[in-house]
Amino acid sequence: MKTLCIVLALSLAVVLGALVAGAALLFRGGISARVEPTNVEAGMARRLLRLGIPDSSRQLRNPVAPSKDVLAAGRAHFADHCAICHGNDGAGRTEMGRNLYPRAPDLRLPQTQELTDGELFYIIENGVRLTGMPGWGEGSEESGRASWHLVAFIRHLPLLTSVEKMEMEHLNPKGPDEWREMQKDEAFLKGSAPSPDTRHENH
């Protein structure tokens, strides 16, 4: 009986210790997204992410071959929907990507490139809870095809050329003011007199 009490007390102490350590880890910095995730937290999150993807999805292989047209479609889609956080080059060095918690990953690195086609597809379609990654899937055949094009484009990111990147800049979403300023920039570079610039450089 005495031994059982000791074992129970020790178990309780271990559980409490783990809870306190977990809480300290989670709440360091309060709810701020500015603190950097620790290596332990990032590592655990990556493992949990992969564990959270059903095996049937993980095994899927991209049914579309990475042809020129498929990559062009994926590139245009990525520039329009994904680049605001991930950047056109997938590095995640954007105002949004840098300030999310967890940060938008650099999609060119092994952490992403080593995910299976099915894992990438699943993440695009379903998003990842408690991160900034939304689920884009609509359940239609068309939306699925578009996600596979994105998978092909993500595989191409480490080889993205500066010409492709510049093409993407024209496809990034812009407000009417931004479009006007862009047209003024082009006119100025072609020789027109400079007109007042109304952009703000704070962000």
């Binding site: 500066s162 003024k184 920039d185 100025f188 570079l189 007109s195 610039d197 450089e201």
Partner: protein, 77 residues
């Protein structure tokens, strides 16, 4: 910011704009685009027309992207 290049060094760029002279910091990440095509810092010359996309970092302006075109030559008679 649109203007004319006054001077360009390894790490800084000075541009004459309608508001006066503006100084930008060039970093290894700064992108250069000449007449719509990818270029390098070395291609940028004084008197080029330039559009600088910059971000404020503390008290300095860091150039993210520099688009430029050579200054127009003298008009032919």
């Amino acid at each position: 910011m649109r203007g004319i290049v006054v001077s360009v060094g390894r790490e800084d760029l000075t541009v004459k704009t309608s508001h006066g002279s503006e100084k930008f910091v060039l970093t290894p990440e700064t992108e250069f685009v000449k007449s719509g095509a990818p270029a390098a810092a070395g291609d940028l010359k004084a008197s080029d027309r330039v559009v600088v996309h910059a971000k404020k970092k503390g008290s300095r302006m860091e150039a993210v992207k520099v688009e430029f075109a050579p200054a127009a030559g003298p008009k032919k008679q």
